[in-house]
């Protein structure tokens, strides 16, 4: 009965089936590439059909996805749950901004300096945490405490502009890392996200990527197999921190103002986690899907509920809670779980390949 369907839905069905599948070798199939291509095209052409106001939303989605992807590299791949990524974000933002405002250093150089500072701090945090074997909730609390330490330091040091924060002069010079228009910023954010995501996709299929996942799934077993867990956790953390610093610098250059609360609040750390949770932790495209869903909802509720200050954040919290309760593996995990159930119902015994939550 079911095989007598006409061609078009069958093609569509196959397309959907393939597009939502995760092949065991982590390679993308053609339908998936088409979906990605269409999405990229839609973003690249956005300035032609969207107003500046809407472009702002696209930029928010892209930067939020980028920051979430940074967190994903560390916490999603190696399973070390960081609750203090705001620290690296803030260090990136502050390093470039203070170097530019107080010392006249070009923000592009400041960007690299910010990455270096965040990398060094991450190395210290990582050494202390991993050398002394902090795991799970203890690691999360430690990262959170480090982040708070930076907030206190930046808030109370005049040299670092204290509680009043740093304002950056507006210019239209790409040499000063300001891209002139919303469209310019959007392309910059797109390039950043695309590069990092491509890296995430590639690294997943290297030995190092496999080591990361092995550490996530069972660190003791990974160690027993001769994987230097300390080394790979350090690599993931430092890389993640350096990219987070890029996100911070980008934020500072886009909004032209930062202060200790904007940079180091726990809400910032949460904002690096939520898109991953919604899309799927440890998947290549989870953070992007999560950000693409979360940010428009946030934007909409923010505008629609503006009469009730705080109600939009209630919705944000509700989304987080409901997602964790209903689909703890995120959307990607949910789709794959549903497919497994569907397959079982069809008693299709051919599909024995293990379906995992890996985009």
């Amino acid at each position: 009965m079911q095989t007598e369907k006409n061609n078009t839905p069958n093609f569509l069905g196959n397309f959907l089936k393939k597009a939502t599948s995760s092949t065991s070798n982590g390679k993308l199939n053609i339908p998936q590439l088409i979906v990605i291509g269409v999405a990229c095209l839609a973003v690249l052409l956005a300035p032609t059909y969207l107003s500046n106001y809407r472009l702002n939303l696209v930029i928010t989605i892209l930067t939020s996805a980028f920051f979430a992807q940074c967190w994903n590299l560390m916490s999603g791949y190696t399973g070390q749950f960081s609750f203090g990524h705001a620290a690296f974000f803030g260090l990136g933002a502050y390093t470039s901004s203070i170097l530019y405002v107080d010392f006249g250093v070009n923000p592009w150089i400041g960007l690299v300096c910010g990455m270096a500072v965040a990398g060094i701090v991450a190395a210290i945090i990582g050494y202390l945490s991993f050398h002394y074997n902090l795991k799970g909730d203890y690691f999360a609390l430690a990262t959170m405490a480090f982040c708070e330490i930076f907030r206190v330091i930046f808030k109370n040091t005049d040299f670092l502009h204290g509680a009043s924060g740093v304002s950056i002069k507006f210019s239209k010079d790409i040499g000063l890392m300001q891209f002139g228009s919303k469209a310019g910023f959007m392309y910059a954010a797109f390039v950043l996200l695309a590069l990092l995501t491509f890296g995430m996709y590639k690294i997943r299929r290297t030995k190092m990527g496999l080591y990361f996942v092995a550490i996530r799934e069972n660190e003791d077993a990974a160690k027993a197999l001769g994987i230097n867990a300390f080394k790979y956790k350090m690599i993931a953390l430092i890389a993640s921190a350096m990219f987070s610093a890029v996100a911070g610098t980008f934020y500072a250059q886009y909004y032209l103002y930062i202060d200790p609360n904007i940079c180091f609040e726990s809400a910032v750390s949460v904002s690096s986690i939520t898109p991953c949770i919604i899309g799927g932790v440890g998947t290549v495209f989870g953070p992007i899907i999560g950000a693409a869903i979360l940010e428009p909802i946030s934007e909409f509720t923010n505008a629609a509920l503006s009469n009730f200050v705080g109600l939009n954040m209630v919705v944000y919290g509700l989304i987080l809670v409901v997602v964790i309760m209903v689909m703890p593996k995120g959307l990607i995990g949910l789709v794959q779980d549903l497919k497994v159930k569907f397959m079982k119902k069809k008693k299709d015994k051919k599909s024995k390949s293990p379906v995992e939550a890996e985009g």
């Binding site: 609750f83 002394y132 209630v314 964790i324």
Partner: protein, 288 residues
């Protein structure tokens, strides 16, 4: 010398309130292995409940305490029942994030309901300080400390002298074993979470006479309570009390010698040192 004595008294009195809130975190972690990130928000909820009861019935926060305790217990009971029980046994970071989500919801619900303005509770007769020579003792803080002592003893009695306490302790040691002994573990979890939240709420209510109430006023205590709970040994109730008093005193001294804004830094540094040197805490026994 007087400044030193004054600082230690202030610190220990304040540390008592910290200790009570941290005891809640420790109890919840001890029984369910959940790190409750919503604790700070629930301290704020306690403040607002106390404020509402006080203004509605025109009574002091101290008389309102029983009502606060009942309300907070119900809130905690149902948070565990609805949100956390379904997640028991799932990867730990999901529970962590769920409580963080709850914190966001609670904090902003308060903002929606009560708006961002500062509120305060005045307690007639308690706005003066007791003078002992050169040393002054803040009356509300002293009364809070006494209440903290009473409630801590109450929780000790519940945990150690009642069947319910036995069931809670059994669940904390071995949930599966407890189930086999006929203990309804989900219900015990709900009661334990409720008790933990009562600690947070009472701490909040006891703070109302000494500080302004606003939607994020509990957040200052949030990480501090974790510091204390970990410093004392997560899951260890006496540890939380001792650590609370120590951290209170340390904070007070560092505020005296380094300036108020840096005292937080000292507390967090202690936290990181604890995590590195002895993550099981002051009174912790075995390594994880």
């Amino acid at each position: 010398m007087n400044a030193f004595l004054q600082a230690s008294i202030d610190g220990i009195l304040m540390g008592g309130v910290y200790a009570l809130a941290a005891l809640g975190i420790s109890l919840i972690f001890g029984v369910m292995k959940i790190t409750n990130f919503a604790h700070g928000a629930l301290i704020t909820v306690g403040m607002y409940v106390a404020y509402e009861v006080c203004t509605l019935l025109n009574i002091t926060p101290y008389i309102a305490l029983p009502i606060v305790m009942v309300v907070m217990f119900i809130i905690g009971y149902f948070i565990q029942k609805i949100c956390l029980n379904p997640l028991m046994g799932v990867a730990g970071h999901n529970q962590l994030l769920l409580t963080q989500g709850l914190a966001i919801i609670l904090e902003n619900l308060i903002l929606v309901i009560f708006s961002a303005g500062y509120k305060s509770v005045s307690v007639p007769g308690f706005d003066t300080a007791i003078k002992l020579g050169d040393i002054t003792i803040n009356k509300p803080k002293l009364v809070a400390f006494i209440f903290v002592t009473v409630i801590t003893i109450g929780i000790y009695v519940i945990l150690n002298k009642t069947d319910l306490g036995k069931a809670i302790r059994a669940t904390s040691v071995q949930p599966e074993g407890a189930t086999l002994m006929g203990i309804v573990v989900p219900r015990i979890n709900q009661i334990a979470f409720g008790l933990g939240i009562v600690c947070a709420g009472v701490a909040g209510a006891l703070l109302t006479p000494t500080q302004y109430i606003f939607p994020t006023s509990g957040n200052t205590y949030s990480l501090k309570c974790f510091v204390i709970a970990v410093f004392g040994g997560l899951g260890n109730i006496w540890g939380a009390i001792v650590a609370g008093l120590i951290i209170g005193a340390v904070e007070s001294f560092s505020a005296l010698y380094l300036g108020g804004s840096w005292s937080e830094l000292v507390v967090y540094l202690i936290f990181i040192l604890t995590l590195i040197i002895k993550p099981t805490g002051l009174l912790g026994k075995k390594a994880r």
